[in-house]
Amino acid sequence: MEHKKDIGTLFEEKLQNKTVKPKTNLWEKIDASLAQREKKRKKTYWSWAIGIGVLILSGIIFSSIISENNNKRPKQLYPLATPIQNNFKIDKKPSIPKVDSTDKERTTTAIDTTSKNLENLDKTTINTLDKKFSKSKEIRAEKDFDSFRKKTVYRYYNSEDSTTIETTNKALIDSLITFDKSNIKVDSTN
């Protein structure tokens, strides 16, 4: 009797669960190859580590340079305005024309009074300004901004003694005018 079977199935049955020992020593080759790969891997790890280290180091150096530069730079963007102490000038040595003694006395008194008034005003203004400018940096910055604003300068010229007063304080000029008027009144009575 013939027992025919599919050749594929027969091969499968014959070759299933079989093993064959390799003729050459494969492990030696595998071991050598693994060692080489290990070496390569270590090399790669080191180069990565060195690369990262260099990056970190250069980052630290760069940031320290930046911070150093920042410290050297002035902290204020705008220069601080100096307190307005010399906003008005007093010509202390005016060229006084030659006059008679009564005129001279009158003029001297007028100058003295004006000078005293000015000194008083001067002191109060300076004190107030000093207080203001000794405040915080923010206020200073605001003052800087104010320095860009338009300022009106008032000039007072005394034709009698050729004295010139230059100021931004309008109140001072007003007081001088009042003072002059009183003088005129005195003159008219005389």
């Binding site: 594929g8 499968e12 064959v20 494969l26 071991d31 790969r37």
Partner: protein, 184 residues
Amino acid sequence: MNTEKELIERCKKRNRAAQSELFEKYKNTLYFLSLKYCRNEADAEDNTQDAFITIFEKIKSYKGKGSFEGWMKRITIYKAIAKYKSKKTIAVAYKNDLLEDTTIEKEQIELPLESLLQIVQQLPDQYRLVFNLYQMDGFSHKEVANLLSISESTSKSNYHRAKQLLKNDILKLKNNPKKTNNGA
């Protein structure tokens, strides 16, 4: 005595002694598998070597799902396929005198293992791969087609042709035991 799980864990840590132990344990199985898929012993040895290196390199990706031996066998098979794909040049010439019937008497295949392996190795590359994948290792024709980048019908046809060639060679060997013929 180490269990396989422990051995795998040690191999994951790249322990060379464990790797050697694993190699000794599976070298014959994987070498025999390579013999079926490759053209000759030298190719099979190269394939086994490449497969073991890949196994040791990729062992961390083995998460314990499925059999470890199966995982290693798949790597060995994929290595053989990759080798075949890298030097794919074949246009198989068919013999007209091939037998249509692919059945054979059981007694006729009673040959030494070496001879049977030689007959399989002498199949044209694509036929050999299709026959082994489908018949020996249980891949479907769809899977074979995907693996070898061929169509499903080509896989079926190659499988049938492979069996015809095997039958031809078996019969020739029976008639003339000193000579084998690959039929292509």
